[in-house]
């Protein structure tokens, strides 16, 4: 147990070092995109990896977070930190409603309910006047952090994104390794037994759902500030599919897996763009290869090989 702790701490330190060093090696805007998606995937992983709930509608919370942040930053002129927080809160508010409905069912039905509700959000965003429909919300100002530090420069917003990512990541990790997280894992392993031990599993599931949607909203809001846009792509069901792909590819139920998955998927999207149609083909092939050959995902396989819990 003690050895496990130490390797985790070392892995964290490596992660922090990588986040700090990354903009020197890679294009900062690309790294920011990876971090936003990594946070989103970590939030999703909290549900599927630790509670065993496959939410197929996480794009709704991500997208709503993006829209709310973009809209408040642009129209109310809120500072970035407040706008992002509002994005997270609105994600959580929506998550409370959706989670409250969806956790009453299990397995496939849970996934279908979340998908159906997320599709409702999508069509709401297509129609609602404030989202700008097809065009989305454009030209969102990055603003000034705390009203003081300008974020117009790519590097200055990078540190904000890095901080948000690391805080969100630690928050989720803290939740997973707390007594609360132990109960979640117990629910994942054997729900009737957790009930028989006296836990109110619905409350635990709902809290995990709300936490996950809050972080998803934060991730969406951050992304909308980085790129200055919030559009229908963020709420489309394919975004829900992409986050599933990231988490599976990186390693379900591992702490670092979603980050790795987000890196791989985003890198493909980015660096394969000059090759046209190959992006989607490659994504499909990698997904097939992952399911056939390494089901535990990249980090999961490395962890199993080295006998470490990463």
């Amino acid at each position: 147990m003690r050895g496990q702790r130490n390797t985790q701490i070392i892995a964290f330190l490596i992660l922090i070092a990588l986040v700090i060093a990354a903009p020197g090696m890679l294009y900062p805007v690309f790294v920011m995109k990876v971090l936003c998606f990594a946070l989103f995937a970590c939030a999703f992983n909290l549900l599927i990896g630790y509670v065993g709930l496959l939410s197929f509608g996480h794009a709704a919370f991500f997208g709503l977070g993006a829209y709310v942040t973009a809209w408040t930053a642009k129209n109310w002129g809120l500072t970035p930190e407040v706008a992002i927080l509002l994005g997270g809160v609105s994600g959580a508010a929506l998550g409370t409603v959706f989670g409250g409905l969806a956790i009453r069912r299990h397995g496939l039905y849970f996934a279908m309910i979340t998908l159906a509700l997320a599709q409702m959000v999508y069509f709401f965003c297509v129609e609602a006047p404030f989202t700008g429909g097809e065009d989305g919300i454009q030209q969102v100002p990055r603003g000034k952090l705390f009203g003081v530090f300008s974020l117009a420069n790519d590097m200055s917003i990078y540190w904000l994104v890095a901080a948000i990512f690391l805080i969100g990541f630690f928050l989720l990790n803290r939740a997973v390794h707390s007594p609360f997280g132990q109960v979640l894992k117990a629910i994942r392993e054997n729900e009737p037994r957790a009930t028989s031990l006296g836990y109110r599993i619905d409350s635990y599931k709902l809290i995990a759902f709300i936490l996950s949607t809050f972080i998803a909203g934060i991730a969406g809001g951050t992304k909308s500030l980085v790129f200055g846009i919030a559009t229908l792509t963020d709420v489309h069901w394919s975004m829900s599919g992409e986050v599933v792909l990231m988490t599976l590819l990186g390693g379900l139920g591992t702490v670092f897996g979603p980050v790795m998955g987000a890196l791989v998927v985003t890198a493909m999207e980015n660096y394969l763009a000059p090759f046209g149609a190959w992006v989607t083909v490659t994504q499909g092939l990698i997904f097939i290869a992952c399911v056939l050959a390494f089901r535990r995902g990249i980090i999961g396989e490395i962890g199993a090989r080295l006998k470490l819990a990463l």
Binding site: Y27, G132, G133, G136, Q139, I229, T231, N270, I286, A293
Partner: protein, 414 residues
Amino acid sequence: MTISRRALLGATAAGAIMPVITAPWAPAARAATSVVRIGVLNDQSGPYRDVSGLNSVVCVKQAIQDFGAANKGLTVEVLSADHQNKPDVGAGIARQWFDRDGVDMIIDVPTSSVGLAVASVCREKNRAYINVGAGTAELTGAQCAATTIHWAYDTWMLAHSTGGATVKAGGDTWYFLTADYVFGHDLDRETSGFVTAAGGKVLGHSTYPFPSTTDFSSFLLQAQATGAKVLGLANAGADTVNSIKQAHEFGLTGKTRIAALLMFITDVHALGLATAQGLVLTESFYWNMNEKTRAFAMRIKEKTPNNMPNMVQAGCYAGTIHYLKAIADMGVAAAKASGAAAIARMKAMPTEDDAFGTCHIREDGRVLVPAYLFEVKTPAESKEPWDYYKLLVTTPGNEAFRPLADGHCPLVHA
């Protein structure tokens, strides 16, 4: 499963890592030289790949060749990428092109949301931007920029030409089939306005849920029952193609004239003349207009044997030629230093190319190309491959687009 994990891993890792390690480093080192770099950013895998796609890249390369860049001492490189119709991917590529790869001008960019997102990146980075593929008139309206030029068409022009000119050609009662989202409603509202202004009458509208509607039969029957002379399709892409096919199956094509508000010759080709005959639509370029357009189209066709350029691809050609002209005029260094200056120089010169002839660029960035209302020929009338259009009405460039004052472009102080 007998697939060896190691073999799979090795193969995929090698394949995946290759572009990742080569892409970011290789071009970055060249960013400082005086080579002019043009980035073609469009859809190469999704619904607009035939409208723009690789044929746009071919047209840009042809423009560089026709301009004789090499003889004039200009070294021009072309980059291209697929934005997958995602605004964040498009904006991300644009940023990367400017920051790392030293791209000076981005051209094409279909899909309104991506087109607008890239426009704000270009404004922020002060690089030239010639949008051809996106329909939104916002590009030269409230969101116009000193770095933006919008070439071949926009929704206002399509609605105005197809709506107004069709009424003049005798189609004075209309029924609309409208996709239930902003784009569909905009097209519907604008076209209705032009129809009534020209003395026509709108008999009704059917709105259908977007996307996900594939069965248009009930709406088509409603349209048929009103006896409208023209069925206006306020939709795009696959919806337009589906509704035309179904209208054909219901026998509407003989009696009712179908007006597609956003359609390209490449879509007509995909549908086939048997289905598409009698359709009216607006484009600003047709390969078989005159000697020059034919010569241009044949040069392109040599390289893409299965395709003829449409107005978007022709716009990429014309835009590149005009941009190179401005650069040759003002000097490479000055053009690379400021995209806004290059665009200002482009606005100051009349355009002259084989595809659109001589045109003028307005101060809001709108290129005033003439709008042509075409009718699709019957299979009997068509004499050769791609011989698809009969010209009905020409709207000259200075009347074809939204008047300057109505656009509320902040650049215009009038």
